[in-house]
Amino acid sequence: MAKLEAKNIVKYFDHDGQPLKALGGINFTVEEGDFVCLVGPSGCGKSTFLRIAAGLQKPDEGQILLDNRPITKTGPDRIMVFQEGALFPWLKVRDNVEFGLKIAGIPETERHQISDRYLDMMQLSKFANSYTYQLSTGMRQRVAIARALVMDPEILLMDEPFAALDAQTRDLLLVEMQMIWQKTKKTIIFVTHSISESTVLGNKVVVFTHRPSTIKKIIPIDHPRPRLAEDETLIQYQKEISALLRPEVKATEEKS
Amino acid sequence: LPPESNKNQIRVVFFANISHAAPIVGMENGYFSDQLGDTKIQSRVVDSGPAAIETLFANSADLAYVGPAPFVNGYVKSGGHGIKILSGAANNGASFVVQSDSEISKPSDLAGKKIAAPFVGNSQDVSLRNYLAENGLKPAEKGGNVIIYNIANAEITTIFSKKGIDAAWVPEPTATMLVENFGGKRLFQEQDIWPDKKFPSVLLVGRTEYVEKHPDIIKKWILANQKSIDWINQNPQQAESTFINFYKKHTGKTLNQNIVHTSFSTIEYTSKIDEKAISLFAQRAYSLGYLGRNGYNLDDIYANSMEIKQWQN
């Protein structure tokens, strides 16, 4: 059964008084437990789509159905992980991770139990009392993921969470991400600009066109896990996606 | 910087109080300009004794009509050099007024009350604080329970009328105005609590440097001052309307004739100087801590040029 269903999503933005059509009618379906990667040229509206799915923005036309009910507002059933993590610098690692629980009014001891579990999973236990500026970028991204998982969301929405990482850290997290997905059975929608990342992580890769964007193609990736960035068998997928994206990126560049 | 004092001009400050009728009438009737001839007169109305002394010290005035307390303060602060007494101008003319609906009838009722007097170091302020001290009361800034507001007469009127204060120790015409217009009750006139039932309230004082440089001008001024006092005493009614005119010119407000009349009747206009009372003021100011803590003396308070002396009583 479809967990999440995008139906003809259209979104305009106001650019210096001119309307700019960012999303031109997005249609696709995400199954329960799916790991879907979204790729597309820069500025095509991937983040916008994610924010609409998170309920942080409203579409101008169409709707996204979650378990067949239209999404009207944001909620902890769909937690977003941001590119820079969006960790709160004024809170310690543990307090960052527990933020959503505290908002939900969960008492301290229970909060600690939950956060301990995820800090452990993310190998962050030793840093529970550190401030975020004391962590490396990779550790910070793990805190962000822990903060999301703690909420036990049905869907994880990840917006280029590994874009700021160096290659080694990213390769490590690619593996960890797959393990987390297998362990937690979450439905994940993952935006990335790295084609290789999308083939390593995704069950499906959704390719966006340039603005106003629609879905160009959905490519299922059938390959055993854990996959590594070096896996040669992924190259055929990567070539296909590359070929699909090339004209879109070009069109984007010409427009701007 | 302040203009140099010179032979061609004399600068004088006084208040818009009724006890200052001598300079006011003298100016209005032209006695000073008649006497001084070519010497230009610049007059300025100030708010309070301390302001007048300030002006003298700042070399922005040569003569001032002030109360004895500010004079003593200025005299002591300048080491006995800065200013000298030239003549008297008036006795009496201050009252202690309370809100008529207040329970105040004796000194002990003043505990916890708010009382106004014009400016710290002014004669009414000294009298008020001395009165409180004699009755065992302490002002709030010394940790006591009586709050004293030192503010200008105009503001005392406003705040009294809004019941922002319980009592005021003020000069005329403010005292009578509080009684007649704003529901005040005159608890007593200040002279009532003085040993001789009178006290000096206005003195003519001069900046020593000017006095010594221009004894001739000073002599003429003192003559005119006497003439003005005499005229007031001979024509009380005309003096009242002269004051009303002046007050209107200065503040834009018309004073009720009754008020002026009542005020006038409490004041004695004279150039005589009550030396004993001045030293009593000094003693009181000293015990209030206004004159420092190293003692004081009043040995040389009069302008000592012989020519001037003869015009003093």
Partner: protein, 252 residues
């Protein structure tokens, strides 16, 4: 190095006192205009003994604290409101900038007429001095919050009051501190200015007494006290708060 610099400073302050005393002894100006350091010290000493100094300091500080507290709360609320609601910013915001350019003492006459000679009047002036600085800085601070912080918090369920206290205020805190620092400085100016004009207890009142009695020792003594309080509050409270927050944000 540090010892040397301290020695220099001590020597310099001693030199100031010596020169001051020298000028005094040289009798260039009369003592009524130019008192000796000893006179000033004596004034402070007597004020300390008879309690009027402590009373003055206490009164002024309490007014400052009350006014500052109101300004801080009000300023934060107003600033957040302006930052989050466009229309409020376009209307009230434009007035705030204007009000900020009114010297706080200029509020004193209005305060006297509206509140009379009361603590409330002086506190009003203090608030008028401090409020707008806190407001403007809060506004800037909230406007500069990384929008992802807000999105993330909302996504995790924060809204309304929780969003404000758990996200907007802590996220804008470095700016709030700048606002507090400016606000307290203006507020302190307001307290002293209002006390001078109201002449109703406090250090400004003691300063005014000095003026009206032509007592320069008193004036200088009170200025010294006002200066020391300024240095202490700035150095002990706000500097420390700033250092702490900056450290926590990883900015130092």
């Amino acid at each position: 190095m540090k010892v040397k610099s301290l020695a220099k400073k001590t020597a310099f302050y001693l030199a100031i006192i010596v020169v001051w005393q020298g000028l005094y002894s040289a009798n260039i100006w009369p003592p009524s205009i130019f008192p000796s350091p000893y006179n000033v010290g004596q004034t402070l000493w007597y004020g300390a003994i008879d309690g009027s100094l402590w009373l003055g300091i206490g009164t002024s500080l309490w007014r400052l604290a009350a006014g500052f507290a109101i300004a801080a709360f009000g300023g934060i609320a107003l600033g957040i409101f302006m930052a989050r609601v466009q229309t409020v910013n376009e209307t009230i915001g434009s007035i705030i900038l204007g009000l900020q350019s009114i010297p706080s003492v200029a509020w004193a006459p209005l305060a006297i007429i509206w509140f009379g000679l009361t603590d409330a009047g002086i506190i009003f002036v203090t608030v008028a001095g401090a409020l707008f600085a806190v407001t403007i800085n809060t506004y800037t601070g909230v406007k500069s919050i990384n929008p992802d912080y807000i999105a993330a918090a909302q996504n995790m369920g924060a809204k309304g009051e929780q969003l404000i206290t758990k996200v907007l205020i802590p996220a804008a805190f470095p700016y709030l501190i700048t606002g507090f620092k400016q606000g307290w400085a203006f507020g302190w100016r307001g307290v002293v200015g209002a006390e001078l004009l109201f002449s109703f207890l406090g250090l400004g009142f003691l300063l005014n007494i000095g003026r009206q009695l032509s007592d320069v020792s008193q004036v200088l003594a009170m200025m010294l006290v006002i200066m020391i309080i300024g240095i202490v509050i700035d150095g002990l409270i706000f500097k420390r708060l700033e250092d702490k927050v900056m450290a926590r944000w990883g900015l130092r």
